[in-house]
């Protein structure tokens, strides 16, 4: 029971991070109908910017830790969003009316280029960060000394994610930007005829997705304390799996899918084998797609001739 609870906590933390990345995939897919293959790289860039800003602030010193972290978070979100914007501008906009495969190849190319850009400029070695947020709550103790631990960092991750997701859902539901996004998702041509600035809406969608990915990167740097230029690939695939699992195009679906993938991974590595934890996520994905191709919360897609 205690062990189960601990895995549940770990899984929820991991799932929150996957969920944040998955939203970027699901929004882009919803609005332009393609996989933003470089989104994992955007998350990696967010993690690197966070680490660099933390180190920069450390060398300059000053202020309380919380304020400093908040500044880092804002810097990472802004700069990563800029990368997201530039990505759309360079790799997607020229190809918007082209065959889908062309856009996918362009995205894969961008993903390779961004990964290598970081590798070239930052080196291939692991980058580490000493834990900043320390301390934890002991929730439960078993007789043999096994304690269930909920660290402050984990609380921080889960709270941040919940707050962001709430703000984000509100934004989609209530603001004019959210309305424009939903309109573009339904019918881009019609939306543009009715005066929605489609280019701007799509750009902002990429920006929002990148900002959320930056938050995920920031949290990962603080939580694990180790990053390298390669983290984007696997995290990206799993987050995409999460988006598909939840039903691609659906934002609550992405959150749900992220949580599920995180939990599956945590329980799989806790109870079966840690080597095959990546296989578990894909196996689940295949099963879901076979039995429920639209995902858990997705709308069925009617194919018209």
């Amino acid at each position: 029971m205690e062990y189960f609870l601990q895995q549940l906590i770990n899984g929820l933390t991991l799932g929150a991070i996957y969920g944040l990345i998955a939203i970027g995939y699901t929004m882009v897919y919803g609005i332009i109908g393609m996989i933003n293959f470089a989104h994992g790289e955007i998350y990696m860039i967010g993690a690197f910017i966070s680490l660099i800003s933390i180190m920069l602030l450390e060398s300059l010193a000053g202020g309380s830790v919380i304020v400093a972290l908040f500044v880092v978070l804002i810097v990472a979100m802004v700069l990563t969003s800029l990368y997201g914007w530039a990505l759309e501008r360079i790799a997607y906009r020229p190809l918007r009316s082209s065959p889908r495969l062309a856009a996918l190849i362009s995205a894969i190319g961008m993903s390779i280029a961004l990964g290598n850009y970081i590798q070239l400029t930052q080196g291939a070695r692991n980058k580490t960060l000493q834990p900043i947020v320390q301390g934890n709550l002991e929730l439960m103790k078993r007789d043999d000394g096994f304690t269930v631990v909920l660290s402050y960092m984990q609380i921080g991750i889960i709270v941040t994610t919940i707050v962001l997701m709430a703000a984000f859902s509100l934004m989609i539901a209530k603001t004019s930007l959210g309305r424009a996004q939903r309109a573009c998702e339904q019918d881009r041509t019609m939306a543009s005829l009715l005066g929605v600035n489609v280019d701007r809406t799509i750009s902002l969608t990429f920006v929002m997705g990148a900002a959320l990915a930056a938050v995920a990167g920031f949290l990962v740097v603080l939580y694990y304390g180790v990053i390298d230029f390669y983290i984007g690939f696997l995290a990206g695939i799993k987050a995409f799996t999460a988006a598909v699992l939840g039903g691609i195009g659906s934002i609550p679906g992405a959150m749900l899918g992220g949580l599920l993938i995180g939990l599956i991974e945590a329980f799989w590595s806790g109870y079966f084998s840690i080597e095959y934890k990546d296989v578990a996520a894909f196996a689940i994905l295949v099963l879901v797609l076979i039995f429920r191709p639209t995902g858990l919360l997705g709308r069925p897609e009617v194919e018209k001739v």
Partner: protein, 490 residues
């Protein structure tokens, strides 16, 4: 959309460029680009997380960022000028920047690279403008069609010439060891490209995990040879068979999915195979890989200086002096023939009912189903046959390297193979050849670029796609049609 608006504006001929932007607007646009790129470059080029002696600290390289942003500003101005129709100044400026990047004694390799590429981009863009302008002004007829007709007529000659060239390559004066090694590599990718072309180009199934079948082929030869002492020639068909079998197993559950879903699931399968190879240590030796894989023999004649007791070696049998080149040349011909078989097979099967069903399925699945084609079996056959050729190529890879490890079968390989197919123009056999030479051969030759190779590779994929979204040689006409349809698109 504004982007298309720009395109039409850009069609002004070089000599009639009256509609000039005011200098202020040009500076504003270029300034904006420079500011954005400055913000993009500062975090990664401006700062580096360096490790020295176990310590981790920040290194600053701010001057480089500023110079790069300045260069981008300048380059952007030239690009705008090209767009506005003036050519002489930008081309001269681009050339100067390029030359400075190449030869000036700048201490930073980064600045050199930026300067060189910036200059090159400007010149290429200008050349492209001239090309586009001439294309529009030459005849009323679309230039592309004339080119396509000419290409179609020249294709058989071109193909035969290429094949003849490929066969005499080792005999040519420049056919030295390095050239042949690169040629073997390029041919391996050509074969993989042709194999994947069956799946992606003909049947229209987006497969992002093709490397899985390559891995299955390589490992089945490696394991059969090291556990049971099977020879290469026995294993080659077996490897293809195994890979095809895997194609069916993997394909069966996923082929009802469409488009992007299929892509992501195949990607997942590709990763799964790699993770299994990595972790099934008792069979595959895990990350250490399988080494000591036997080399192929020429009808039982080994390529060894001193053959084992009672056997004869290749050079003894033919009375030649021993040379390590013999084996390389033999491998070269082996992969050449394997690749040509793939090509021949594909071209023949395209005209058979099954091949036509693939192409029909690619164009319209619902129509196919209405006409009584079983989509699942048809897709499955394309998947399995594509996988089989991947398996052949894998067995060849194993015997050439003498060593296989899961590291050779990452997602990047799948992406490269897919890029070769798509960049070449889906369904086009010649396109695969051109794309493989450009993507694999060229970077191998330019070793100086080694560091920047993958960066250039990724950027090249983006650029070629935005330049020609349908691939270098786009040809998507059905192999067989009732009458020549004009302007057929998807």
């Amino acid at each position: 959309m504004p982007s298309t608006g720009k395109r039409t504006q850009a069609s002004i001929l070089p000599d009639s460029g009256h509609r000039r932007l005011p200098p202020g607007a040009i500076f504003k646009e270029a300034g904006l680009t420079a500011v954005v790129s400055l913000a993009l470059l500062v975090p990664f080029v401006g700062f580096k997380i360096a490790n020295r002696g176990g310590e981790q600290f920040l290194e600053t390289r701010l001057p480089e960022v500023l110079i790069a942003a300045g260069l981008i500003f300048l380059g952007r101005i030239f690009l705008i000028l090209v767009r506005e129709g003036s050519l002489a100044l930008p081309v001269a400026g681009g050339a100067v920047i390029s030359v400075i990047g190449l030869f000036a004694p700048i201490p930073s390799a980064f600045i050199q690279a930026v300067a060189f590429t910036a200059g090159l981009v400007i010149i290429v863009r200008a050349a492209f403008m001239v090309f586009a302008a001439r294309r529009r002004s030459s005849t009323g007829r679309e230039f592309g069609n004339g080119f396509a007709d000419g290409y179609r007529k020249a294709l058989p000659w071109l193909a035969s010439a290429l094949i003849v060239f490929a066969f005499i390559l080792p005999l040519m004066p420049f056919g030295e060891r390095r050239t042949i090694d690169i040629a073997i590599l390029v041919l391996t990718y050509i074969m993989l490209g042709w194999g994947l072309n069956i799946v992606v180009g003909l049947a229209g199934l987006l497969d992002l995990g093709y490397v899985a079948f390559y891995a299955v082929g390589a490992y089945s030869y490696a394991l059969l040879a090291s556990y049971f002492d099977f020879s290469f020639w026995v294993c080659l068909p077996l490897a293809g068979l195994f890979a095809g079998f895997f194609g069916i197993i993997l394909g069966f559950p996923v082929l009802r999915l469409r488009g992007d879903y299929l892509a992501i699931v195949t990607l997942g399968f590709g990763e799964m195979i790699r993770v299994i190879l990595l972790n099934w240590v008792s069979l595959t030796k895990g990350p250490d890989g399988v080494s000591g894989i036997p080399r192929p023999s020429f009808f039982g004649l080994e390529f060894k200086r001193y053959p084992a007791e009672g056997t004869e070696s290749f050079h003894q049998f033919f009375g030649l002096d021993y040379s390590s080149l013999h084996r390389v040349v033999f491998l070269y011909y082996l992969i050449l023939i394997l690749a040509l078989i793939t090509n021949f097979f594909t071209r023949r099967i395209r005209t058979l009912p099954i091949g036509r069903a693939w192409e029909a399925l690619r164009e319209d699945e619902i129509a196919c189903r209405s006409l009584g084609i079983n989509p699942r079996n048809t897709k499955l056959s394309a998947f399995a046959i594509g996988a089989m050729f991947g398996g052949f190529a894998g067995a060849f890879f194993a015997t050439r390297q003498g060593f296989v490890s899961p590291e050779s079968f990452t997602f990047l390989e799948s992406a490269i193979i897919l890029a070769i197919v798509v960049l070449g123009g889906m369904g086009s056999q010649m396109g695969v050849v051109i794309a493989a030479v450009v993507l694999i051969g060229l970077p191998e030759y330019i070793r100086d670029l080694q560091e920047y190779r993958m960066l250039a590779f990724g950027a090249g994929m983006v650029l070629i796609m935005s330049w020609r979204p349908r691939g270098l040689l786009s040809q998507r006409d059905p192999t067989i049609s009732l009458a020549r349809a004009e302007g057929k698109t998807s």
